[in-house]
Amino acid sequence: MADLHFLANPARFRRFSQRVTGSLAFATVLALAVGLYLALIAAPPDYQQGETVRIMFVHVPSAWLAMAGYGLLAVLSGSLLVWRHPLAALMARGAAPVGATFAAVCLITGALWGRPMWGTYWVWDARLTSMLLLFFLYLGHIALSNAYDHAERGDRAAALLALIGAINLPVIKFSVDWWNTLHQPASVMKLGGPAIHPTILVPLLWMAGALSLLFVILVLLRTETEIDRRRLEAADATA
C-alpha cells in the first residue's frame, strides 16, 4: 500500500470534492435555471439583432471561461513544476478538456451568430482568430499530455507548454487585435463601467455565474476520474 503513498494528497482532495459536488451540482442547476429563464424568456429581444441576441448569453460567458481556463492551467502547471504537487497534474488533466470545450462552444455559438449578423459563418477576424488559436493551444496541451507512455512525463511536458503558452497568450491576443478587427469590442469588461443595458447585463451575469459553476463542477468531476484512473494504473503496475 505504501506504493500508493504519492496519492495521499489526491485522495484527500477526492474526499473533499465528493463532499462538495452534491451541493455544487444543486447550485449549478439552480443558477442555470434562473439564468436560462432570464436569458431566454425575460430578456427583451434586441432592437437591432432581434432574438439572436440570446446567443450572446452563452457565447460571451464561454469566451470568458475559455480564457480563464487557460489561466487556471498555467497556475496548476506552475505548482506542478515548482512544488511537484501531484494533484496539480491531475487537475490540469481535468481542466484542459473543459476549457477546450468552452472555447469550442464560443466558436460554434459565434459562428451561428455570425450567419445572421455578418452574413457568414466565419471571417478571418482578429477576435475570432485568436479564439481559434486558444482552442488549438488547448488541443496541443491535451495532445501533448497524452503523447507519452508514462502519464507523468506527459503531465510535466504539458505543464511547461502551458506556462510558455500563458506568457504568449496575451501576446497572441493583442497582436491579433492590432492586426485587424471586425468583431464587437469589449463592452462589459472595460474601464469606466459596462456600456451595456441592464436588461441584457443582468441575464448575462447570471449565465456567466451559472456556467462558471458548471466549469468548476466539471473540473472537479474530471479530476476525480483522473485520480481513479491513475490509481488503477499504479495498482496494475505493482500487481
Partner: protein
C-alpha cells in the same frame, strides 16, 4: 562563452554533414512560395500584396520542418545523456542547438527571401523590410520550435504534434513580420514592427532555453 562557441561550432558542423536535410528545407521554401503565383495568375499588384504573408508563412513552415530532429537524434543515439551531464549549463547547450539550426535554416531563408520577393514584384524597400524582419524574426521561430521539439521528445507522432504546439506560439512573430512588409508597401516605415519583433525574440530568448532545459531533463529520465 567560449564553451557556447565550441558547442555552436560542433552543432553547425553536424548539420552541415547532412546537407540533405538543409537542401530539403530550402527546396520546400521555394516550392511553397512558387505555388501562389500559379494559383493567382500573373497580376503583379495582387502578387505583391500577398507576398509578405506567403513568404513568412513559407519561412515558418520551412523552419518547423527541420526542427523535428533538433534533439531527437541526440535522444536516440544516447548523446542526450552526455549533454545532460556536461559541465556547461543545459540551457546554453539548448540555445546553441537552436542557434545552429537558425544558422543553417533561418539565415539562408532570410537571404533567399529577397530573391523570391523580387519574383513577386516587391519594391526595394519592401525587400529590405522582408530581409530585415526575417533576420530578426526567424530566431524566435527556431527557439519556439526548439522548445516544441524538446517537449515532444519520446512522444508518439512527434512531427505533426510539434507543429501543432509551435505554430500558435509563432503567430505574433508572423503577424509583425508580414505586417512590416505590408507597412512599407502602404508607404509607412517598418521600424515599429522591427522593434516588436526584436522584443518577441528577446522574450523567447529569456524564456525558452529554460523551458527547453527542463523538457530535456525530463526526456533523460
Amino acid at each position: 562563452m567560449t564553451g557556447f562557441g565550441a558547442l555552436l561550432a560542433r552543432d553547425v558542423r553536424l548539420v552541415l554533414r547532412r546537407p540533405g536535410d538543409v537542401a530539403v528545407v530550402l527546396a520546400f521554401f521555394v516550392v511553397a512560395t512558387a505555388l501562389f503565383p500559379l494559383g493567382i495568375g500573373p497580376e503583379t499588384n495582387l502578387l505583391a500584396r500577398i507576398a509578405p504573408g506567403v513568404l513568412w508563412c513559407a519561412a515558418l513552415f520551412a523552419s518547423m520542418l527541420s526542427l523535428d530532429r533538433l534533439f531527437a537524434s541526440d535522444y536516440e543515439d544516447g548523446s542526450l545523456d552526455l549533454l545532460l551531464l556536461a559541465p556547461w549549463p543545459l540551457e546554453l547547450a539548448a540555445l546553441a542547438k537552436c542557434a545552429a539550426h537558425w544558422i543553417v535554416t533561418g539565415l539562408p531563408l532570410a537571404l533567399l527571401a529577397p530573391l523570391l520577393g523580387l519574383t513577386f514584384g516587391l519594391d526595394p524597400l519592401a525587400l529590405a523590410a522582408l530581409t530585415a524582419t526575417l533576420l530578426v524574426g526567424t530566431p524566435t521561430l527556431s527557439l519556439i520550435g526548439g522548445l516544441a521539439a524538446a517537449l515532444t521528445l519520446g512522444a508518439r507522432k512527434s512531427g505533426a504534434l510539434l507543429a501543432l504546439l509551435a505554430l500558435p506560439l509563432c503567430v505574433p512573430t508572423l503577424i509583425f513580420g508580414a505586417g512590416a512588409v505590408e507597412a512599407t508597401v502602404s508607404g509607412q516605415g517598418f521600424g515599429v514592427h522591427l522593434a516588436v519583433l526584436a522584443a518577441l525574440a528577446l522574450m523567447a530568448l529569456a524564456t525558452t532555453p529554460w523551458a527547453m532545459a527542463a523538457a530535456l531533463r525530463q526526456a533523460g529520465e
